[in-house]
Symmetry: C2
Subunit: 410 residues, 2 copies
């Protein structure tokens, strides 16, 4: 209880913490003519950490950012484009990622190594560098202390709404702020690791935190937020999470202190909110489903079981149909690879018992069907095999999902 | 070449081999009033082998059949119902499976242990035993030497057409026949093992083969046919493959002989044909896609890579849209867990190069789009990391798939 010393800030964004600027502009990368380039910067050099996709075909910007995480102590900015993923673009793609940082650095009068880069959109097409260059010039010129919301708008691809938030945290020495923005909305089944979505997420804070502790926050935070969501089972080549801490609040967070716990709790709440927003705004989504696995034999079993249910096309289409068809959930639990005795498994929808003793628990089907008509519900799975737990957030698969992905081809 | 000593028999079925009888009738289990019960029998006791689902929530008939495989030397019949899976039905479900065998045995004047049982349909509902009993009486009475096609019709659930075939094999001592039937068409991602779909498959032969060799044929055959298909990524509680060999041709197939190789080649061709037919008749399917993985570092890597692509919702919806969007294939290869160097991977659609040196191989997109308009095409993936190969057969995911599975609730 004492650790939840934070409040969400209405209309918060990456520019809510002191000393951060951002922008969102239209470079011309999207046929639609919508905003397609964003920037987040800090007025002073900021400590940073990153977590990136574990896909072996990592995009050029991911490869470059990983190098920077290892080689750089501090950064000043991240330049982000949507409409083109700069993934599977070989050496020219990598060189273009380097060039993006150089252009941004030239315009900001900083060093190229102080810039990170992210891309999202179509895979396999070289970036149109003249459009990119004029876009970066525009993005740097537009940087402002209230640019957070427009930046969140510019990183969207198939998202229907921008996703940004901020929290204020009360530490022993005073208040610090954390801001964040993210985008989905397809190819979302992140398994990010440190130095590990096409989810993109940028988090800023004016607390002073060293890179080692930031990396620990990024890794643990990703594992308990973005790595717990599964929209469509496909992990992207470009998933990126970047944390920047510029220290301008004058308040430090040090490893092993109670302040570190308080700060992490607030950071995690912000990351979980952004992760859940991604699921709710997933492509064609009409349902938000929490998969709660309890009493698994091991952490790995708990994860396998939750993942299998979150990834089952039959479960996801049944949810779309508001169909309590729990046989599909049971089948997924059964093939998940988790160890258990079928007769010990308890399945509940919210608080209504569904399966006991390897058979129907007797709750009238109408009651279950009513419950599944809600936008949000929870599938509770007690494997009765140990004491490991894992929670995932997922969604249904709809006609609209098929439409978006059979017809989308930027 | 010399091993392909077989020909497919037009309109072949499980009753094409000598001494097999079959039937398909309407018991009344389906609201639609379509045929819902089938039987396959041998006029003399037959050796047999089975492969069943590896789902830990195995259905009652699967549990019973597994016991029979271990305890029985020979069987006479298999009774099969669609419309109800008798899965997740606890002890009463198991007792009902036992009862189904007893009723069939009473009607056929054989021992209950000589009968196997299969069920497919809704999970979690107890069988209506009075309907089942009168159905079995009807099914036994209808057994006939030309009942194969009607049996294949009666085991269908969401299948749009029956799937049956037979081959004639030339062995050193003369000719033997193999017949088979199967059903899909959703919850199909079999991983059957011996004593391992809701695919159901029944294969008959009039060759004389001992149970040990039959079990080997069932296991190896399943691994190279049914276990190589993936329609929707969901493995069933009821997947069942049963082989029966009654020896009535008077010709034996013994382990380690050339005849065994010839027979297995014919059996495998029949199993692959049935497996491929299942994919082509998968729920809402408009595309038949072969995923060919070559030069993986290990057999496990080859399987992981083929499975990831066959299971990618983004690939499957792109195929539905005839969209060459190969970035989705590359992403799936990248997150499959297979080991490789991105620059060594070669991706081709049919014989057209798609990716080389981790970037676009230059084949005009129009050419690739044209190729994807065909009903059948092959995705060739050369990982350049070793010498292990694996081939899978899969399909697209369509509006119709979502419709069937959001609205299906027998």
């Amino acid at each position: 209880m004492g650790k939840n010393k934070f409040v969400f800030i209405p209309a918060g964004s990456v520019t809510t913490p002191q000393g951060f600027v951002a922008s969102g502009i239209t470079a011309g990368l999207k046929v639609s003519g919508k905003p397609d380039m964003a920037m987040v910067g800090s007025t002073v050099p900021a400590n940073f950490a990153g977590a990136f996709t574990s896909c072996k075909f990592a995009a050029a910007p991911v490869i470059l950012d990983r190098e920077r995480v290892l080689q750089q102590d501090r950064i000043r900015a991240v330049i982000i484009n949507s409409g083109n993923a700069n993934a599977c673009t070989g050496k020219p793609g990598y060189e273009n990622a380097v060039k993006m940082c150089e252009i941004a650095a030239r315009e900001m009068k900083i060093k190229p190594e102080e810039v990170l880069v992210s891309s999202t959109g179509r895979i396999g097409v070289q970036l149109p560098m003249s459009i990119i260059e004029s876009g970066i010039v525009k993005a740097v010129a537009a940087l402002s202390a209230d640019g957070g919301p427009v930046a969140a708008n510019a990183i969207m691809t198939t998202d229907t709404r921008p996703k940004a938030t901020a929290v204020e945290v009360e530490l022993s020495g005073g208040k610090v702020k954390i801001g964040g923005m993210t985008k989905g909305a397809g190819m979302i089944a992140p398994r990010m690791n440190v130095p590990h979505a096409t989810m993109l997420c940028y988090i800023t804070t004016d607390a002073a935190i060293d890179n080692k502790l930031l990396a620990q926050f990024a890794g643990n935070g990703a594992d308990s937020s973005f790595n717990c969501i599964n929209i469509d089972g496909d992990m992207s080549t470009n998933d990126t999470l970047i944390l920047m801490a510029n220290g301008l609040s004058g308040i430090s967070v040090k490893a092993g202190t109670e302040d570190a716990e308080i700060f992490y709790a607030a950071l995690l709440a912000l990351m979980q909110q952004l992760a859940q927003e991604m699921v709710k705004d997933g492509e064609g989504v009409t349902k938000f489903v929490t998969i709660n696995v309890k009493n698994a034999a091991s952490a790995s079993d708990a994860h396998k079981c939750a993942y299998a249910v979150s990834n089952s096309l039959l479960c996801k289409t049944a949810w779309f149909g508001c169909d309590p068809n729990w046989g599909r959930v049971i089948a997924a639990i059964g093939y998940s690879g988790a160890d258990f005795k079928p007769e010990n498994v308890k399945l509940d929808y919210n608080d209504r018992p569904v399966v006991r003793d390897a058979m129907d628990a007797g709750t009238p089907e109408k009651e279950l069907a009513q419950l599944l008509k809600e936008r949000d519900f929870t599938v509770n799975i007690d494997l009765g095999a140990g004491d490991a737990d894992f929670t995932m957030w997922t969604n249904d698969i709809t006609y609209e999902y098929v439409k978006i992905n059979a017809e989308y081809h930027t």
